[in-house]
Every structure is written in structure tokens, then in C-alpha cells.
């Protein structure tokens, strides 16, 4: 029964391959995709906290940064940038604020998701402080000024003179209170 044994070996190997591909899809593809996004700027996802390094401020150059705010789906808050756009020199740290107002009668938690246009400029937009690093709880009727401090990288390609940063505000009240999310 030589054939039987080699059949079983092959069966084991192929099942292992299948299990490996399953694990690949769930455990490797999502982080790989995030890495891919980070490298290519796919989706215009900006990065996490930027450790400020000493850079020379390039006063010869001006870059316009435009701000957009959107509410996802059932998000009832008032959410808008205080200034629609600012002009900065690359290398200069600038603070801007967004205004948020929970107009409802219940306590809520929101998460702001950034997206950068043009998408491949996300690499050149550094945030030293941002409300989007954490979720934002606001009590019923509460208003808040949310801070963002950013630096435009002096290496920003010369062809780009305007950046658009948009935040979409998602209501995550339910998932924050669910036990699974708290475990994460």
C-alpha cells in the first residue's frame, strides 16, 4: 500500500497549504495591506505620532493646507474645521483646531479617520499632536475644540503646492461599550 501512504502524506501537505493560505488571508494580509498603504500612501492614510526632528523651515516655499470635515452616516454631531485652509512653510509646526459639538441628548464617543488628497502626499504630512490619535468622548450637549499640530515635510515634491486633509467622524459609541472592543 505504497500508494496509500504517499496519498496520505500528500493529503497532509495540501491541507497544510490550505490552512496556511487561510491564516495568510486573516493574519498576514491585513497588516501587509497596512504596510503597503504606509509605503505607497494608498488611501491617503496619515501616520501616527510624529517625533519632531530639527528641520530647517523652508521660508522660500508656501504650501496651502485645506481642511475638510465629514460625518459618517448616522453621526449627528456638528463637526467642522475652525479655519478652512492655512498657508504654511514646509518644516514649520502649525496648530489648527476642529470644532465638535455633540448636539444630542446622550453621551457619545467618536473616532475621526484621516484621509489625505493627493493620496501619495500622506507621507509628507506629519502630525505631532492630533485628536485623531484617540477617540473623542463628548457628553450630551458638550462642545469641544480639537487640536491638531502638524508639520509639512520640506521634502514634499515641488509639484505639490496644495494638500487637503479630511476627517470623517464615525460614531463608535456602541463598539466602545461592547466587551470585545474593550479587550482589544
Amino acid at each position: 500500500m505504497e500508494a496509500n501512504r504517499s496519498n496520505r502524506t500528500l493529503l497532509g501537505q495540501l491541507l497544510l497549504l490550505a490552512a496556511g493560505m487561510f491564516a495568510f488571508a486573516i493574519f498576514v494580509m491585513p497588516p501587509l495591506y497596512d504596510l503597503f498603504c504606509e509605503i505607497t500612501g494608498l488611501g491617503g492614510k496619515t501616520k501616527g505620532v510624529y517625533e519632531a526632528v530639527e528641520v530647517k523651515i523652508d521660508t522660500s516655499r508656501e504650501v496651502e493646507v485645506q481642511f475638510l470635515a465629514s460625518n459618517n452616516e448616522s453621526m449627528p454631531w456638528v463637526f467642522q474645521p475652525t479655519e478652512h485652509h492655512v498657508v504654511v512653510h514646509p518644516g514649520e509646526a502649525r496648530k489648527v483646531t476642529f470644532f465638535a459639538h455633540n448636539t444630542t441628548g446622550r453621551d457619545m464617543v467618536a473616532q475621526a479617520i484621516p484621509s489625505m488628497v493627493p493620496n501619495n502626499t500622506a507621507d509628507y504630512f506629519h502630525k505631532t499632536e492630533c485628536f485623531c490619535f484617540n477617540n473623542q468622548p463628548l457628553a450630551a450637549g458638550e462642545k469641544a475644540e480639537l487640536d491638531l499640530i502638524f508639520i509639512v515635510d520640506p521634502d514634499l515634491p515641488a509639484s505639490v503646492n496644495s494638500l487637503t486633509l479630511s476627517y470623517t467622524l464615525f460614531d463608535i459609541t456602541d463598539s466602545v461599550s461592547s466587551p470585545v472592543a474593550q479587550l482589544q
Binding site: G43, G44, Q66, L68, S70, N71, N72, E73, H84, H85, I113, S115, M116, V117, P118, N119, S159, V160, N161, S162, T164, S166, T168, F170
Partner: protein, 381 residues
């Protein structure tokens, strides 16, 4: 059998061909398009050009390959006495038909790349417009101008469900089209609000998925004013087919005039419905509206004319929940001379007059009726 097969083959082939031609002729005579539109922008023209290059390359290859195949099918059939040869490989030929198509593809990659560069040339726009896909409508926001509005299908459900004849612009009409100026580079910042949608205007060559949480950009610049119709092209639920895109390109002066009008509207909105009114502001405005529109029947002192026009002073409606009171003004009372004021009075005026009636002549409900309450009532109806 094979003779009959040949006869069948030829007759049915000609049937198919003639049917296609007849179909094309019908389509042409009714002015219906068969091909991709050339559109009115550089991008749509580039897409059209590369499309036509591909059509012709494929046609030439197809005619050559199938011409040869039909020749073989005719010449080497057993019924004509063909005897099979036994060759089954030829390295030179096989290499040749690997390399030649590869070269053709490399040559075609050049215009394909140039065309794609045009699609991605979103830099230095004159105007930014944020496009947000909703289930099942579009929202347009003129970035930095304070102007935004919803654009929804304007075809009635009677037309859709066959209870009324379909109009000329069936499923191609919206409540408010997007308006852009001719001769300006407009950049669209596209995102989704709930599920993924896709914003497509064929004549601009612009199709971009509207993904929640993600912004992408596309652009258009055209010198040809007109109305351009597009569609949502990503399955987004049951209203997927019912959220057309309509863009109106206006001459720049006309556009500026239109935008100024929209800004004034927005300012008006912000200072009226969008504003939170105080008790006394509403009383002042409410008295004006009452005097103008209500006092002739209900009388300036709110006592009405007994037996003809009911009194408002002490009336259970005026002292009851505000929704019922607002409802009377919006819907009127059937069979009486109390008409609907929904179209005659603005939300602000309705709110003010309801507020006034609840708090004048000794009525003392004490609450505040805001214009936004009236708006909500209308929307919830």
C-alpha cells in the same frame, strides 16, 4: 450530415450578422449611442482614443486569426477529402506568436500610460468640490464657499412603477444638479457616507469609488456648457439604480451669479433656520406674520369670530404639544377655510407664528418653537 451542417452554419451565421446589422441600424436611426462617448474633457477624450486604438488592434488581429480559421474550416474539411497531416509542433512558429503579441502589447502600453497620466493630473485645481455618496443621493459641497446641497432623483415613483407615463428624462433628472463653471479646472474630492458608491460622469471620463472614510480625487475641465448625466456605478443597496449624477456646466459669469445666489441662500439659511432664535425674537417676528396672514380671520386679539373662525386664545391646540399646532399650519384642516400654509410661509415664519400664538393674549405655554422643529416635522411627514 456535414453538408447539412455547412448549410445550417452559413445560413445561421448570416442570420446573426444581419440581425446585428439590423440592430445597429435601428439604434443609429433612433440616435442611440453604440460607442463610448468622446465626452468634453481631456480625460474623456484620452479614454476614447485609447479605447478606439484597442478596438482597431483587436479587430485587425481578430479578422486575421478568424479569417485564417474560417479558411481552415472550409479547406480542410473531411467532406472535401482532406487527409490529416501529423505535425504537432514548430518551435519557430510558436516562438513567433509568443514574441509578436508581446511586442504589440509593449507598443500599446505607451499610449495607455500617457492616457492614465492625464487621469491622475489632479494638481492645481481652480475649484474644489466635495462629492459624498449617500444611500441614495449625492451631496455636493463647494469647499470654502459655505455652499452644500443634496442632489436626489426627481423621477416620481409613479413613473417607476408604471402608474404614470415615463417622462423624457426618466431616471436622468435630479432635484438640484451640480453646477460647475466652463473653462475652470474642477477637482472632485470623493468620499462615501455609508457604503461604497461610485461617482461617474461619462462625458468627463470621471469614475471614482466613494469609499467611507477615504477621499480620492478626480478632475474635469471643459469649455462646453451643457447638462451631463452620469450614474452611480457601485452596488450600494436597493436604490443603486435611482441616484443619477447630473452636472450642469455654465459659463463662468453665469456660474458666479448662481454661486452668489446659493451663498445668499446659505447665509439666509444660517441666519434663520440654522440659527437658534430667542423667545423675544420669535415673538416680534411672530406678531408680524400673524398680523399679515392670520388676523383677518382669527382677529388681532386671537378671539376669532364665534361660530365662524375659532378662537386661538385658550385653544387646546395652541396650548397642546407643538407638533399638533405645527401640523395644523402645514396641513390645514380639511373642509374648513383653514388652508395649508406649507408653501406660503417659510419654516421661520411658521415657527414664529406658532410660537407667538402659544405665548400671546394670555396663552402661556412658555416653550420655544424653533424653525428647525418645523423643518423636522416636514421631513418626518
Amino acid at each position: 450530415m456535414s453538408k447539412r451542417a455547412k448549410a445550417l452554419f452559413l445560413s445561421l451565421l448570416s442570420l446573426v450578422v444581419s440581425l446585428s446589422f439590423a440592430g445597429s441600424a435601428i439604434a443609429a436611426s433612433t440616435g442611440r449611442e453604440l460607442n463610448m462617448p468622446q465626452g468634453v474633457t481631456e480625460v474623456s477624450q484620452a479614454a476614447y482614443d485609447i479605447h478606439m486604438i484597442m478596438v482597431w488592434v483587436c479587430t485587425v488581429i481578430g479578422v486575421g486569426v478568424f479569417g485564417f480559421m474560417f479558411y481552415v474550416m472550409y479547406a480542410h474539411r473531411k467532406s472535401r477529402g482532406a487527409v490529416a497531416e501529423n505535425f504537432h509542433e514548430n518551435l519557430v512558429v510558436e516562438l513567433l506568436w509568443t514574441i509578436v503579441p508581446a511586442i504589440i502589447l509593449i507598443v500599446m502600453a505607451v499610449p495607455a500610460t500617457t492616457a492614465l497620466m492625464k487621469v491622475y493630473n489632479t494638481e492645481n485645481p481652480d475649484i474644489d468640490i466635495k462629492v459624498t455618496g449617500y444611500q441614495w443621493k449625492w451631496q455636493y459641497e463647494y469647499v470654502g464657499e459655505g455652499v452644500k446641497f443634496m442632489s436626489e432623483l426627481n423621477t416620481s415613483s409613479d413613473e417607476i412603477y408604471g402608474r404614470a407615463p415615463k417622462g423624457e428624462h426618466y431616471l436622468r433628472e435630479v432635484t438640484q444638479p451640480l453646477v460647475i463653471p466652463a473653462g475652470k479646472k474642477v477637482r472632485f474630492l470623493i468620499t462615501g457616507n455609508d457604503v461604497i458608491h461610485s461617482w461617474w460622469v461619462p462625458d468627463f471620463g470621471v469614475k471614482r469609488d466613494a469609499v467611507p472614510g477615504l477621499f480620492t480625487s478626480a478632475w474635469a475641465k471643459t469649455d462646453q456648457p451643457g447638462i451631463y448625466v452620469g450614474e452611480c456605478t457601485e452596488l450600494c443597496g436597493l436604490g443603486h439604480a435611482f441616484m443619477p449624477v447630473v452636472v450642469e456646466v455654465k459659463e463662468e459669469a453665469e456660474y458666479n451669479e448662481w454661486l452668489a445666489g446659493k451663498k445668499a441662500e446659505a447665509a439666509e439659511y444660517a441666519s434663520t433656520i440654522g440659527k437658534t432664535w430667542t423667545f423675544d425674537e420669535l415673538m416680534v417676528r411672530g406678531e408680524e406674520v400673524y398680523t399679515r396672514s392670520c388676523a383677518s380671520c382669527h382677529q388681532a386679539d386671537g378671539k376669532g369670530i364665534p361660530g365662524v373662525f375659532p378662537a386661538l386664545k385658550g385653544s387646546p391646540i395652541a396650548l397642546g404639544p407643538p407638533e399638533g399646532h405645527i401640523g395644523i399650519l402645514i396641513n390645514g384642516v380639511a373642509g374648513t377655510s383653514m388652508q395649508s400654509f406649507a408653501d406660503q410661509l417659510s419654516e421661520v415664519d411658521i415657527a414664529a407664528v406658532v410660537h407667538y400664538e402659544r405665548n400671546a393674549w394670555g396663552n402661556d405655554v412658555g416653550d420655544v418653537v424653533q424653525p428647525v422643529d418645523v423643518l423636522n416635522y416636514k421631513q418626518n411627514q
